[in-house]
Symmetry: C2
């Protein structure tokens, strides 16, 4: 039976000759497990370079892996040095005032800002992979430290304990970062999506700005406060400082032209110098005007702080928690910055290796009186624009800071704190990336919701709340995609054997007597009940529609499995139940284009025999062709309930 | 330029004329949001039947929605009554001994088992949707109650408080179940996959069996213990009871033939009667042999217990937690049972409506001295095999239990507890579904791991640990699928324009000069970095291979987006970066078959102009055809780095 002469195809093309859908060649379980683990944890195959090398070479390669400076160091040239010198000095001029400002933000002694721009950049230059990243403290981590640690220990009443806990938190942050890198769990950082980070940073920046403004304008600011001796004395000097300097600074920042980057780079230092000069020359104090200044900064390099680490303290659990949270956030920013510049300059960065570098940087920093550092975007952008070539720019910056620490600290004696506030505020305004938020609104409104939730959570709740909300929403999105997958009805694109969604292609024609559904997600326990009920309902609605309009009733259900990446046992049960329920309705279930993993499971669970190997096609087109052949050759709608027997009789 | 005569196709078919990939017609945001929410929360469209009906009809339909008995009640016939009577009495004979046994398992007064088989089935008969489900207490929930509540309050020292807390936990379980149903959050229950439930139930059953055996064999069993007056007196009577009855019972259970279901249904009651008779007739006590018996059971129906609910107790938080955990587990079993039988008998069950029914059942039960009930599989299977037609079988069972409560309780005075233990043990053995576990091992080893983890967690840790481990592993699997998606290289199936994975179809031929990759997951923040790095590495490896073998170098990268269900802003950035990095390598990025959602986002983010509308094709075949046309018409590998300009010059 079955003669091609009887074919009455609904399309103009010839029915393609059927191809067999293959079950992939079986692999030993251990082999496929190993390759899955490898793909999960070592997607970049870092051990590839170690193959077929003598042991001495392997040792060298191993050392070079952990300390990349051993790899690019020998190739260093004078040209690179010139470029790195300029870049290094430029970022040093940013590092010094910003370091002092952010340390104040964290309620730590300002000198810590300078310490943290000395040792950590040196560690990074040895162990880090990015050529453009500039190491330093960041406002967000400083804010987090002040806020979370400040809830436990008051920085004014207990400055020594506060300081030691900050070092301990930095140690744990570094330990956590390094272990993420060693255990190759770096993909965890991927769960902080770009939308999350935009909202979170904007929220943190808003909080910092409000704090700083509160301090500047009076009242009990958490960071700055001063006693105005008299209202009149406040008004003329401080307002002069605030107005003039902020106007210049904001004007320069808002220009945001890369060519003028050096203005925004040098502006903070300029303001510091001008402000100190102003206070010094006017001998403000002698006139009875109190302006809070930085005061004395100790000379000398970083003191060791290993003995200060408070491992035995009662605050250890909260310190570990603060370390982990600040560590992850710092990591997210540093990794993102490193990747962005590497993408732009077309070199590779091993994310896990970078994490080890950041981790070591913070661990060593916690031993040498530094607090949490990472690679902030603003400073790295300045580094990049200034033409850096390698991480030596960080070494140059560290040297400049070292000189400052050894000789130049008295220069900062008269710097008004209000200048530091201005520096912080304007840097924060740069973090509020409203353009990115608008872009999110236009392109993907769920991402916009995530962004706004992070922002609102941080501003109106706390930093942890904002972060948790944003991460949970991001994960919910992923789960929703799998739990409520899209099912699309496919129609035939005219003059072809192509079948696409009728939603996307309004000119696609549904095929009479055949319902073609495409499932757009893996079929897992999380969605198998939903899929089964939804497909059943779809079939019922189609049949109702056809009944009332008097057209040919349904005979075939074709499931396009091309987008079903995988299936588990719940999914197999779902297919089995679907087959049974469609048979009871007198319909035949046909599968099209099942992938390798799906075919393996279908084969192992014996459901292939149940559906019938001849009812699994490689393309939707072939499935439709075969069904049409049956539809127009034989009587439709067999009388018996036991669908499969009837079909096999006829074929 | 561009003449078809110059086409030198690598396949024998004619290049299909290119079809345009459409951006779906834009929908107003509110409309698409509403339809997404509807699909998530109301996938079964329960309000469909309310359309276009007069208000009085809507009221009736509404009442019928919450109380299905109003819908099928009027259609009840005498035939149904006959079938339901038989089924009801059968399950009552199971309910009475099992109810008493499980109440003892929960460290509650045995009479509660009878109470819980009286009121809750009546509530379910009014509000439930399943025609086959038989309501009753379950061993697992009883065990959970004993274990979790027992950690807080000792049932022997504080029986009244323990009892009141059990009622309160039942109330909260019911409240939680009902609210899941009302808020249409029923899909949460889907997160307990079949593998999880198999492992979890087996673990709980193992724990119960070990407990019971410990009690029977002596020592301080948590549930049963007795003082053996003398070893010799223990040995002959108790071992007689144990040996004979368990042998019969286990033999009958292990037959598992549906036709003999009535044996397994009546066996417990028979054992109870025989056991009581044995103890009574031998006047065991008069011979100095102590055999623990149930003792006196109060006559009379359920006393009200609303006033016993301990809302003000200090144990309220733990009670709420116990209520939620037991509620979810009971719900998972009840919903699964309802769905299985509905699937078999080909009627629909609204999962959320069922949850409301279960919730009300437990709330009302907590007011009337009942503890947690659900629809256990074993009892429902007996109900089904006994030929039940509607939920009236539950009403019949309740009536039988009522008669027992009013008149027959003295009959249980002499029932030895060891008989109850046997009933429990054998019921538990039925829960250890090792066949299912073996099936999981064969079909899906990850599911097997989930199953074993749940089992081990319950047996060696605690019930909550086992459950948490299993759910976390299940969710991790879903996240892993999205975080580490498969990328497949596609090749051409000979004599066709079909392109499939070379892993699945070893005879598929790779196309020279073109690398075709299929991405099998949505492109989200969670996997965009991984995808970008993996694809870059793939390209590099391919180019290395081609270089060493001297074949044509790569010119085109075609991404098959057919299985990419959705994309977010991180994914869009990934595509942008991929385009830039491939351009720098002198390659051209081509997209094939992007779906509706993806095209919308590509359009909104303007990346379509960046890639070029003419480089997005509807099928991989068309994309390959166009690339081959270019490859064989023009010089390969343009000299300039700025890839896009060169291409547009030529086309």
């Amino acid at each position: 039976m079955g003669n091609a002469d009887y074919v009455h195809s609904t399309t103009t093309n010839v029915v393609e000759s059927a191809h067999r859908v293959a079950v992939p060649p079986p692999q030993p379980f251990l082999k496929s497990l190993t390759s899955s683990l490898k793909e999960t944890f070592f997607p970049d195959d870092p051990l590839r370079q170690f193959k077929n090398k003598p042991p001495s070479r392997k040792l060298v390669l191993g050392l070079q892996y952990f300390m990349p400076i051993l790899e690019w160091g020998p190739r260093y040239s004078l040209e690179f040095l010139k470029a790195d010198l300029i870049a290094g000095i430029t970022i040093a001029s940013l590092a010094i005032p910003q370091g002092i400002s952010y340390a104040k933000l964290a309620n730590l002694p300002p000198i810590l800002g300078l310490y943290s721009s000395f040792v950590p950049p040196l560690v990074y230059a040895v162990m880090g992979s990015s050529r453009d990243l500039a190491v330093g403290t960041v406002a967000v981590a400083s804010l987090l430290t002040a806020s979370m640690l400040g809830d436990e220990v008051n920085a004014k009443e207990n400055p020594t304990l506060y300081l030691h806990l900050a070092f301990t938190a930095t140690f744990f942050a570094g330990a956590f970062q390094a272990s993420l890198g060693i255990l190759r769990l770096g993909f965890i950082v991927d769960f902080l999506s770009h939308a999350t980070i935009v909202g979170f940073m904007a929220g943190a920046a808003t909080v910092v700005c409000l704090q700083q403004l509160k301090g500047i304008l009076g009242g009990d600011g958490k960071v700055l406060c001063w006693d105005a001796v008299s209202f009149s004395s406040y008004s003329w000097l401080d307002s002069l400082i605030i107005d003039v300097f902020e106007d210049i600074y904001i004007y320069v920042q808002n220009k945001r032209r890369p060519k003028l980057f050096w203005i925004s780079a040098l502006a903070p230092l300029t303001l510091v110098i001008l402000g100190s000069l102003l206070v010094y020359l006017t001998h403000a104090e002698k006139h009875g005007i109190h302006v809070q200044v930085i005061g004395e900064l100790k000379k000398g390099l970083n003191p060791l702080s290993i003995t200060d680490l408070a491992f035995g303290s009662q605050y250890l659990p909260i310190t570990i928690k603060i370390g982990i949270i600040t560590g992850v956030i710092a990591l997210a920013e540093g990794i993102a910055v490193g990747r962005s510049f590497a993408m732009y300059k077309n070199y590779q960065i091993d994310g896990n290796k970078e994490m080890i570098a950041f981790g070591m940087m913070n661990i060593v920093g916690s031993f040498t009186s530094c607090y949490l550092t990472t690679g902030p975007f603003s400073r790295s952008a300045v580094n990049f624009n200034a033409g850096c070539k390698t991480a030596v720019s960080n070494i140059v910056m560290a040297m400049a800071v070292m000189i400052t620490l050894l000789f130049l600290t008295p220069l900062f004696h008269y710097t008004p704190l209000v200048v530091l506030s201005s520096i912080i505020i304007v840097a924060m305004l740069g973090l509020i990336d409203y353009e990115a938020a608008i872009h999110l609104w236009h392109v993907d409104k769920f991402d916009f919701t995530v962004c706004m939730s992070a922002y609102i959570g941080v501003v109106f709740g706390s930093v942890e709340i904002g972060l948790v909300i944003a991460v949970v929403l991001s994960v919910v999105r992923v789960l929703l995609f799998v739990t409520r997958p899209r099912i699309l009805a496919l129609g035939n694109i005219p003059n072809s054997m192509i079948f696409r969604s009728v939603d996307q292609y309004p000119n696609a024609n549904l095929v009479p007597g055949i319902l073609i559904l495409e499932i757009n997600a893996p079929i897992y326990f999380a969605n198998s009940s939903y899929l089964r009920e939804r497909i059943s309902r779809w079939i019922d609605e189609e049949e109702d529609k056809l009944k009332s309009s008097g057209e040919t009733s349904l005979q075939y259900i074709i499931l396009d499995m091309g987008a079903v990446g995988n299936i588990d046992t719940s999914g197999i049960s779902m297919l089995e139940e679907l087959k049974n329920s469609t048979e009871r309705k007198g319909l035949k279930l046909v599968l099209a284009n099942p992938g390798g993993e799906v075919m393996k499971k279908l084969n192992k669970s014996k459901i292939i025999e149940s559906i019938g190997q001849e009812w699994i096609y490689i393309t939707v087109g072939e499935a439709v062709g075969a069904c049409n052949f049956m539809l127009h050759t034989f009587k439709p709608k067999p009388m018996t309930v036991n669908g499969s027997e009837t079909w096999s009789d006829n074929v």
